[in-house]
Symmetry: C2
DNA sequence: GGAAGTTTTTCCAACGTTGCAAATTCGTGA
DNA sequence: TCACGAATTTGCAACGTTGGAAAAACTTCC
């Protein structure tokens, strides 16, 4: 079928190693030989067999990306960024879905034989917890994303959840809001995005001398639009007074905004709303949604770079560097939903 | 590092071929031998090297999925469905992004050496056109999705654009609407989703005896929310009268809905709105968006199945079957945006 | 003209697996 | 005890590539 080194060598009248040398731009090849070989390569449309190369070198040029689900916008946009970053490093990305917080499937993924032809994995768990930290002890390069597990035996790339949430809340305070509801808390959670962002929210209140109020905290089970809308409706129905809402992610904020509008409350005149994530969608809602860009692109780039470094280091038997944690820069993006009135 | 057949064979005191036979459940292996080998496999935690297997067999178990961009919700949801379908066939998916309708990159993708370790490709072009049909003549199994190229030399899986668009329009007519605007037409296009769906819209009007009207057709450059909103605003500003809007996809419809609400028009009381695609998002907008499910899951499943068949057929040197076109079933989904008032 | 050094080319083995065919062992019946 | 067929195990080559080192060809300089 496809031409091999042998075919090219036969056509050019040289040994296969010489062809290999030409392909790899080895310098000690006579110009005339090089040219002859190149002509043969073109004529036969020779393409190196990557599988054979992988077998020889032990590297495939493929990295895995395991995430909950692409139909969750945040992860789709993350995957987009990871693929682009990988392409710049000549790596290709194989995507695996573990479901919406399915701990079992996440754990199983770490030993999935399907990862065999991968040089390393970028792993974004949603169901595993700190107790599962030992599971991250794997024999291949691994970079973990997210807020489920900290201080593990591998590199970790994540956002400054607390600081970013604090900044989002301060953004609301700066526009004169004082009764600030928060939507998306998880009952009893002390780690994870929800807890960290809630903590940032509390810090901002404390710093501004605004008393915390349990009735302003909207609890949800999952971070989907529906949950955001329901939590908001409950709060409205309970007669809680508020002049701003912080959705712990954009999806929740958009759901909350829907519930506000249903109830006849105007955004931002009656209630200001801010989200978290900077999804593409936040730019197009009505009104456009203020949010925090947690540094998604930087997360993707860092994760790919660090993974690539680990892969390279592993190949050269350098003594492995200690695992590191990387935190990305964030920025508050003010849009219509928090405009001054 | 990792254990190989040799290591297992040495430990079990047999030849590597016997180990291979055990791994493959070859029947003529003495029970006692089998057990001894299996113990060795467990003890050494032996996992077959997929790369070596691929080199030997010529199959990698990986399929490529080339699509414009994961940050476009439609493609993220398509990718989700493809990955799930592939998993059921024990295939793993490698995703490549070609950009938003970048013809050059799409053409380049077809000969991308990165596809080497792929057994076949599911390709969803957005920038190529019928003129590029010959580019689809590639030497690996290929399944094409979408509405850019028909009747090519490869299998094609797509939706019934015309019929589905006609059904969406008829849904509006059935609720008593007569002045039905359409948003998302492409100037001068005769093929592609826009043209086909526009044709379905026209057929529905014709069938109902409603005169076509050029002023009710909103043209856009791209199918994003912003374009939908702008086209809708232009139509409103021009004083065009209408009581319904058909967005040629959900994103356009959501943008149009935003423009309507800005202008103080109520959905569905003043204007009914329907979209196309059945994105997750359509379930959560305010009001929830009626739409057409074009059979996305079926498209993914069919594409993976057909590709897998071609891959298998290629391995057995069966004479290749003629390329086929597959069309999926659609269904109109009525939600709040077209509710009767 | 030939030694010494440099450039260019070739040879061989190995990466880990599997298909094929051959070799060995076993069981059965004469 | 031996022949014969079946069951079981093994050896070898090959998939296409690359690293290392040897071999061959060419230069340069005395």
């Amino acid at each position: 079928m496809a031409a091999t080194l042998h075919d090219v060598a036969a056509l050019a009248g040289v040994s296969i190693k010489t062809v290999s040398n030409v392909v790899h731009d080895y310098q000690h090849v006579r110009a005339s030989t090089r040219e002859r070989v190149q002509r043969a390569i073109v004529e036969l449309d020779y393409k190196p067999n990557i599988t054979a190369r992988s077998l020889r070198s032990g590297r495939t040029g493929v990295i895995g990306l395991a995430l909950p689900e692409l139909s969750l916008s945040y992860f789709a946009e993350l995957a987009d960024a990871v693929i682009q970053a990988a392409e710049r490093q000549s790596l290709v990305v194989l995507i695996e879905q573990t479901g919406r917080g399915d701990r079992e499937r996440e754990i199983a993924m770490l030993t999935n034989p399907r990862l065999q032809l991968t040089d390393g994995l970028i792993f974004s768990p949603l169901g595993m917890s700190q107790d599962d930290v030992d599971r991250l002890n794997v024999r291949y390069p691994l970079v973990v994303l997210g807020e489920r597990i900290f201080g593990g035996p591998v590199d970790h790339v994540t956002m400054r959840n607390e600081e970013a949430a604090q900044a989002a809340t301060e953004h609301l305070i700066r526009t004169g809001r004082r009764r600030i509801a928060v939507i998306g808390a998880h009952e009893g959670e002390v780690i994870g995005s929800a807890a960290l962002r809630l903590e940032g929210y509390h810090r901002a209140l404390d710093a501004a001398g605004i008393p915390r109020s349990e009735e302003l905290v909207g609890y949800v089970i999952e971070w989907h639009r529906l949950n955001g809308a329901e939590a908001m409706r409950r709060m409205i129905a309970a007669g809680v007074e508020f002049d701003a809402v912080f959705g712990l992610n954009d999806t929740l904020a958009l759901g909350a905004m829907r519930a506000l509008q249903e109830a006849g409350l105007r955004v931002p005149q009656d209630v200001a709303v801010i989200g978290f994530d900077d999804l593409d969608e936040a730019r197009y809602s009505l009104p456009t949604l203020s949010t925090v860009d947690p540094g998604r692109v930087e997360i993707a780039e860092t994760a790919v770079r660090v993974l690539a470094e680990r892969i390279t280091a592993g190949a050269t038997s350098t003594p492995p560097a200690d695992p590191r944690a990387y935190l990305t820069d964030f920025s508050v993006i003010g849009r219509e939903s928090t405009a001054s009135v």
